[in-house]
Subunit: 406 residues, 2 copies
C-alpha cells in the first residue's frame, strides 16, 4: 500500500512540468509552485503542521513527546533542470514524507520530525545552486539580488511574484538548537551503486563545485573572405579549452574529480561571421581538495597557452569555489545500522553532485542516503529509479530517523 502511494505521488508530481521531453519544473516557476502546493496538501493530510519560511522553503512538522527538543529533519527539493527526470529531489521529498507517515502511525518519538522541501536547489534558472538551504543556514548570497533567468527576469522580482522579499530572507535562518540532525534521501545520479550491485549508498563526503566563467576574445570577421591564417576565431580557442577541460579532468579522475563545460555562448553566432567572443561555463567537482586545486591550476596553464598560441585573450573568473563537505560520523553509523537491520547491501561512497545536505551540514549533524538510478543517468528525461530501491531507501530513512529521534 505504502509503495503504491509513493509511486502514485511521484507520478502526480511528474505532471507539474512545462512540457517538452522529461520534466521541466524550474525553481520558482508556476509548475514549481503548484508542485509545492500539492506536497503541502499531502503533508497536511499526514498530520504535519505546515509553514513556508521567508525563502519559500516548505517545512512540515510532526511534534515529538519531549517539549522543546530539536527536530530530526529530512527533505530534498522539487525543482528540476530543464528536461530533467522525475526522481531527482522528488524521491527525497516523497520518500521523506512516506517515512514520517510511517513514524506518525507509531507511538510518538521524543524529538519532533520535520520534512523540508528546499526551494531552488538546481542552479539552472538563476545560476545559483541550493539557494533554499543556503537561505536557511544564513548563507544567502548578496549577488542573488542581481541574478536573472534566461528570459531576463530578475530573481527579486520573481520572488516578489511568490509573495517573498529577498531583503527579509534572513527570517528563514534556523539555528543549531532547532535541528538535531538532517538526512537527505536522493538518487545517486551516477552509476556506482548499479555497477557494484548495492542498493544503498551512504555518503561520506559531498563534492563541492568550483565554477569558472571563461571568456575568449577573438576577432569577428567575414567567414568567406578572411584567410585561414589571418583569423582569431574565438570558437576555435573555446574548442581547445573544452578539450583541455576534458583531458585534465580525465587525468584527475582517479582522485574523484570531474570537469564539465556545460555552458557555451557564442557571439554573434551567425553562419557568415567568424566568432568574435565565446563564453564558457565550467564546472569542476571532487572530494579531494588538492586534486581540485591541481585541476584548476592545470586548466589555467592550458588556457593561457591556448590564449597565447591563438592570439585570443582569455579571461577566467572563479564564480564559486566551495570545499568538499564531510558527512557526520554518527549519522553515517546510524544509516549503516539501519542497512544491516534490513539486510540491505550498501556501500560508503562520495557524492559527486551537490545537495542541500551540503549546506545543512554547517548547522547540524547531516547524512545522505543514496539509491541507484538506472545507468547512472540523471538530469535527463530517461532518469529512472526502481520502485523496490525507492522503498528500501524509505525503509533505511525511516529507521534512521527513528533511531535519531528516540
Amino acid at each position: 500500500m505504502d509503495r503504491e502511494w509513493v509511486m502514485a505521488t511521484i507520478e502526480e508530481i511528474a505532471k507539474f512540468s512545462t512540457g517538452g521531453p522529461g520534466i521541466t519544473r524550474l525553481a520558482f516557476s508556476d509548475e514549481d509552485r503548484r508542485a509545492g502546493e500539492y506536497i503541502q496538501d499531502l503533508m497536511g493530510q499526514a498530520g504535519l503542521a505546515v509553514r513556508r519560511d521567508a525563502f519559500g522553503n516548505i517545512i512540515g512538522r510532526l511534534e515529538g513527546a519531549m517539549p522543546g527538543a530539536p527536530a530530526v529533519a529530512t527533505g530534498s527539493h522539487l525543482d528540476t533542470v530543464p528536461e530533467g527526470g522525475r526522481y531527482d529531489g522528488v524521491v527525497g521529498v516523497v520518500g521523506g514524507l512516506a517515512a514520517i507517515r510511517r513514524l506518525a502511525g507509531k507511538e510518538p518519538l521524543p524529538h519532533p520530525l520535520e520534512l523540508i522541501v528546499f526551494m531552488a536547489e538546481e542552479s539552472s534558472r538563476f545560476g545559483f545552486a541550493t539557494m533554499g538551504s543556503k537561505a536557511m543556514i544564513g548563507s544567502a548570497n548578496p549577488s542573488w539580488a542581481k541574478a536573472k533567468d534566461q528570459a531576463g527576469d530578475g530573481f527579486p522580482a520573481v520572488l516578489g511574484r511568490h509573495g517573498l522579499d529577498l531583503t527579509s530572507v534572513r527570517a528563514a535562518v534556523r539555528g543549531r538548537e532547532e535541528i538535531k540532525a538532517f538526512i537527505e534521501l536522493h538518487i545517486e545520479q551516477g552509476p556506482i551503486l548499479e555497477r557494484t550491485e548495492k542498493t544503498i549508498g551512504i555518503v561520506e563526503a559531498i563534492a563541492a563545485p568550483t565554477r569558472l566563467k571563461i571568456v575568449v576574445d577573438g576577432m569577428a570577421g567575414h567567414s568567406g573572405s578572411t584567410p585561414m591564417d589571418d583569423r582569431q576565431d574565438a570558437l576555435v580557442s573555446a574548442a581547445m579549452i573544452i578539450l583541455a577541460v576534458q583531458e585534465i579532468a580525465l587525468e584527475q579522475h582517479h582522485r574523484g574529480t570531474v570537469g564539465t563545460v556545460g555552458i557555451i555562448r557564442n557571439h554573434p553566432n551567425v553562419m557568415n561571421v567568424i566568432p568574435g567572443r565565446v563564453e564558457l561555463g565550467v564546472d569542476i567537482r571532487g572530494v579531494d581538495h588538492d586534486s581540485i586545486i591541481e585541476t584548476i591550476q592545470d586548466l589555467k596553464d592550458a588556457v593561457s597557452t591556448i590564449a597565447d598560441g591563438q592570439e585570443t585573450p582569455v579571461a577566467i573568473e572563479v564564480v564559486t569555489a566551495d570545499k568538499p563537505v564531510p558527512m557526520n560520523g554518527d549519522i553515517i553509523n546510524a544509516i549503516e545500522t539501519a542497512c544491516r537491520q534490513f539486510n540491505i547491501p550498501y556501500r560508503l561512497m562520495n557524492s559527486g553532485a551537490g545537495h542541500d545536505a551540503m549546506n545543512m551540514a554547517a548547522i547540524t549533524a547531516t547524512g545522505m542516503i543514496f539509491i541507484p538510478c538506472r545507468g547512472g543517468i540523471s538530469h535527463n528525461p530517461s532518469e529512472e529509479a526502481a520502485p523496490e530501491d525507492i522503498m528500501k531507501g524509505i525503509d533505511v530513512l525511516a529507521a534512521t530517523l527513528e533511531q535519531l529521534a528516540r
Copy 2:
C-alpha cells in the same frame, strides 16, 4: 564636394541601427526599412525614377537616350550582420548612387542606368543569403516560407509587415533582356588589397558557400556525479569537430578554401548538465570546386571518426552547396580599362565572400569592384574603409558604367 556627400551619406545610413556596438540593421527590420526609405529619397533627388519590386528590392532608374535599350545596373545592399560595420554593402549603394549622379550630370548615355538596393543580402536573420537578388533572378527558395528569425518570427509574416507577399515574389523576376550588365562595388572584407598595396580589386570569381548543419547527439547527465569515463558529452565531440574544420580548412587554404564554424547551439546549456545535444553551423567557401569537394569529404570522414570514438552519433545535413561563380570577361576588361585610365593600382582576385553579383551573373554580364578595408576586417564594428579608396572605387565604377552604357 562629391566626397563630402558620399561620406556624409554613409554617416547618415550608419544611424539606422538598433544600437549596441557597431551597426545592427538586420534584413527587413525597422532600421533596414528606414535606411531604404532614406536612400529612396536620395535617389529621387538625383532624378532617378524609383520603385520597389515584389520582394522589396529598391530600383532607381535613369533613362537612356536609346528607347527600349537594356539597363546597365549597379548596386549592393543595406542590411548588416548583427554588430557589423558601416561599409559592407553601403559603399556599393552610396557609391553606385554617386556614380550615377555624376553620369546624370553629363549628356545622356544610350543605355539606361540603374541603382539596385537588394534586400536581405546577409543570412544573419533568416539563414538565407542574397535573397533579394535570388528573387530577382527567379531563384527564390521554396523553403524561405518556413524560415524564422531568432525571435521565432516567420519570414512570410515579416514580409507581410512590409506589405509584401512571398507567394507573389515571382513578380520581382527580371529577364536577360532588361539588364545589359551589372557591376557591384564593395569592400573586400579581406586583407589582400591592403597587404599587396592595391586600391582596386577586380573580381574574377566569387566563392560560393557550402553550408552544413551538424548535429551531435550525446547523453545529458549530471555534471557532478557522472564519471569522466562514462560520458557521452556532445560538446566535447562538437569541440573536436570545430578543430577538425579548422585543420582541414588550413590544409586546403593554399587552394583558396576557407572553413568556419559560425554557429553553435548547446543543449540544455546549463552549468550542471553534461551537454546532451549540440548543433553546429559550418560554412565552407572557395573558388576551386575540387578543393571544396575534398574539404567536405575530409570533414565527413573526420566527423565519422569522432562520432565513433566518442560514441556520440553525428548527423550532417548539407544546407546549401553552390558552385563558384566566374565574373564576365568583358566586364573585367572594362574595369581594368577604367583603372588604367585613372592610373589606379589594381589586381585581379577572387571574392571569398558571396555577393548579390553572384546571382546577377545568372542573368547578365556581371563584374565586381573591390576596395580595401582596414586590416581586412569586416562583419565587425571596427570595419573601416578610407574615404580616398571609396572615392577611387566610385571613379572606376562610374567610368565602367559609362563605357558599358555607351
